[in-house]
């Protein structure tokens, strides 16, 4: 199948409006303030993205309160959120929406479209490259009334700190857990990336509702993780683009030795090389969301490829941004460190590049020695 890897005019218009909104409401000083606060995310910004504009449920069908757009549009929003290192649980909510769509959980989807945060309750590094192996043990028992109860600990969950509902894999099935339920405790984690902080979940007989079991649960989870890996690439792309743009802008105006620093050839060549990688990242990221959106049989490979390429690229872009800003890029008062930390946390989310290359060994039939 030939997938269209370009942006549509509508997507470009969407990008412009999201960028304008984030410029107004998620400037980096604001982001740093939220990151340094005890709050896990920016509740005002989330309200803007969900209740006020409906951007948080772009890919939810209209009859469920969403915008009825596709993941290709969602990915454009993620590019802009990555560009702003915006502290909102957008990615987790989007992945949860994919799960719920697969399961036909219309009521939860309506909640989500209404602004409720719903998050997958898994360690943030679980990805499609073999999630089962990394899923923690959560035990399922049965209450007197026959309803399920969950017991166990899940560490390092992203986007769940203010979630209203958690979608939890346990015992090979999927459950919905009310985040305020007795028997569930969320503990904030001091996180490398405070713009997408983690929390730990502990459950003692937490009441849950079964969403799906067996093959149906497994395939829904898998599809959502593939979508997550694919979508994350767009966030990484936007982040890397900000790093490149900001570094170029700095080097054009920073003078040393009587010259703009950006006229020094060694830096120019490194940034040219970074741009070469970025151009490819755009193709790879667009391909991944297009493949997922189209239900292409290549979607799994496309997502692994996107993470194998875009994860390291975003880290490299952020590292070059810090280095080429010199001392100032290493200070708390400059936003570069927020991008550096987000890039690293994104490189781990939904599986590292190494996990995805390992998966590609199978997907591309390149067996180990």
């Amino acid at each position: 199948m030939t997938l269209d890897l370009r942006y549509t005019e509508e997507q470009e218009a969407l990008r412009d409006s999201v960028r304008a909104m984030l410029t107004d409401h998620a400037g980096w000083a604001r982001v740093l303030q939220v990151a340094a606060s005890p709050e896990p995310d920016d509740a005002d910004l989330w309200r803007l993205l969900s209740v006020d504009t409906g951007l948080a449920a772009l890919a939810v069908p209209e009859h469920l309160g969403g915008a009825g757009a596709s993941l290709a549009e969602t990915a454009v929003v993620l590019e802009e959120l990555g560009r702003a290192v915006a502290p909102v649980p957008y990615l987790g909510t989007t992945v949860a929406a994919q799960l719920l769509l697969h399961l036909g959980e219309d009521e939860l989807l309506r909640d989500l479209a209404g602004g409720a945060i719903i998050a997958p309750a898994m360690p943030c590094d679980v990805g499609p490259a073999g999630p089962g192996a990394r899923l923690p043990d959560v035990e399922v028992s049965t209450a007197a009334d026959g309803s399920p109860l969950l017991n166990g600990t899940v560490c390092g969950v992203a986007d769940a700190s203010r979630a209203r509902v958690l979608v939890m894999p346990a015992g090979g099935a999927l459950f919905a857990v009310d985040a305020d339920a007795a028997g569930l405790r969320r503990t904030p984690v001091v996180s490398l990336d405070e713009t997408r902080p983690l929390c730990d979940l502990a459950m003692w007989n937490a009441p849950a509702r079964l969403l799906a079991a067996g093959e149906r649960a497994a395939s829904a989870l898998d599809a959502a993780l593939v979508a997550g890996a694919a979508l994350l690439a767009s966030e990484q792309l936007g982040l890397a683009q900000w790093c490149l743009d900001t570094t170029v802008a700095h080097l054009r105006t920073r003078y040393q030795f009587g010259r703009p620093v950006g006229s020094f050839q060694a830096l120019k060549h490194r940034l040219a090389d970074l741009w070469v990688e970025l151009v490819q990242a755009r193709a790879v990221a667009r391909h991944a969301v297009a493949a997922v959106a189209a239900g292409d049989p290549d979607a799994r490979l496309a997502a692994a490829l996107a993470q194998a390429h875009c994860g390291p690229l975003a880290v490299r872009a952020a590292e070059e941004c810090v280095q080429m800003h010199g001392g100032i890029g290493f200070t708390w008062e400059h936003p570069a460190h927020l991008y550096l930390k987000r890039a690293k946390s994104a490189a781990i989310a939904y599986g590292t590049a190494a996990h995805h290359r390992t998966a590609l060994a199978t997907l591309a039939d390149l067996a180990p020695a």
């Binding site: 054009r252 040219a272 741009w275 193709a283 390429h309």
Partner: protein, 399 residues
């Protein structure tokens, strides 16, 4: 400008035109006659003006025509063999040539009756093309040319060459150049094969000794050679060859197949390197697909430069890994004959040939270093380095 009296050209109307042409011309007839007739029908390069092989149509419609002719089994004009003529000489003549020059040169160029070569690079002027030292001196109503050119592919088969020469050494380097169409059959033109690290002689050195060129062979004004040459170079970089490859269609496919079919060669520590190369190759392939989609939609971008840079680095690394994967077997070469290949096949011959030839990918057609400068300045908008060579008379520059 004025509104054209004719209908705008569309893909549909082009298909009809081709079908009409094919109805009147047997594809089995004399090859040259067929190609001349196709040119005269405006179906050669449809974006060229009427009367010069085209219809003034959008460039993106060219594939419609080419595919229709190919499907009918029509003879082609060996586009790879005349690539320099098509890609560089023709657009430059079209833009800067006189009516006489266009009429004289474009038709036999397109029909492949006359092969062209490019006489730009010199031993002392590689990346710094504006530094060429080949002199052209007024001689009555013409010019006498003396100098040495290098890296001239097809010179030994060429009828004409596009030539950059210095007409005013006292002017600053960019200002003292003039552009000529060089008669490769003129007395004083000597072509010698230039052997490469591969053992082959793809290229030539061209020695010009008192070569007399009529002033009618000057393209553009005296002293305007650099501006004319920029048209040539811009077109060199625009060219993106052929159709999109399928997955593993390029050099990575050779490596992947070797890995799959020769398990005894695998080394654990090489596995991740093969995977990394596979990722990069597939990323580059998708980049090419996206770029073609943009071009087809009339949205050209600078991504072609990214592809050339990435392609050069990638082919070098893939072929290098393949040689190492093969171990002692990878150190066997097929032959060191000084062949003169006319077409470059990057996946042809053996692994060692591929590895050696790929080293040229980051040098020919603009080194990767020059290309990075161009990307940094023209795409990213980073400032130029301070120049010390632009305000000085060329003859006074250190070299």
């Amino acid at each position: 400008m004025g509104a054209s009296a004719t209908e705008p050209v569309t893909a549909e109307s082009l298909r009809e035109r081709v079908d009409g042409f094919l109805a009147g011309h047997d594809t089995a007839q004399d090859r040259l006659e067929f190609l001349r007739a196709r040119f005269d029908a405006g179906l050669a390069w449809v974006h060229y003006p009427a009367g010069l092989g085209g219809l003034g149509a959008p460039r993106v419609l060219q594939p419609v025509v080419d595919q229709r002719f190919a499907a009918a089994g029509a003879p082609d004009n060996s586009p790879r063999r005349i690539g320099i003529g098509l890609g560089m000489a023709a657009p430059t003549i079209l833009r800067h040539g006189t009516a006489e020059q266009r009429a004289r040169f474009l038709r036999p160029l397109w029909t492949a009756e006359e092969v062209w070569c490019q006489l730009f690079s010199e031993p002392g002027a590689g990346s710094d093309l504006a530094g060429v030292a080949t002199r052209a001196v007024r001689d009555g109503d013409g010019w006498l040319v003396d100098g040495q050119k290098v890296w001239t592919s097809m010179a030994h088969q060429a009828r004409w060459g596009i030539l950059l020469a210095r007409t005013d050494p006292a002017a600053p380097k960019h200002a003292g150049l003039t552009y000529f169409l060089c008669d490769m059959h003129a007395p004083g033109v000597e072509v010698r094969p230039l052997r490469q690290a591969t053992g082959e002689a793809e290229f030539n050195e061209v020695f010009l000794s008192g070569v007399r060129l009529d002033d009618g062979l000057r393209l553009g004004a005296v002293g305007e050679g650099w501006a004319v040459a920029r048209t040539t170079l811009m077109n060199e970089r625009v060219a993106i060859g052929g159709a999109a490859l399928p997955r593993e269609g390029g050099m990575i496919g050779v490596l992947a197949r070797t890995w799959r079919t020769r398990p005894e060669l695998r080394t654990p520590a090489l596995h991740d390197e093969v995977l990394r190369l596979w990722v990069r190759a597939e990323a580059l392939r998708l980049t090419g697909i996206r770029l073609r989609q943009q071009l087809a939609a009339g949205e050209p971008g600078p991504e072609g430069s990214a592809m050339k840079l990435a392609f050069a680095a990638l082919t070098q690394q893939i072929s290098g890994t393949e040689v190492e994967l093969l171990g002692a077997e990878g150190l066997r070469h097929d032959h060191w004959r000084a062949d003169r290949p006319e077409e470059l096949d990057l996946t042809g011959r053996g692994p060692t040939y591929r590895w050696l030839r790929a080293k040229g990918n980051s040098i020919e057609g603009g080194t990767s270093e020059v290309l990075r400068n161009i990307v940094a300045e023209r795409v990213l908008g980073l400032p130029a380095e301070p120049r010390t060579d632009t305000g000085v008379a060329w003859k006074d520059l250190p070299r």
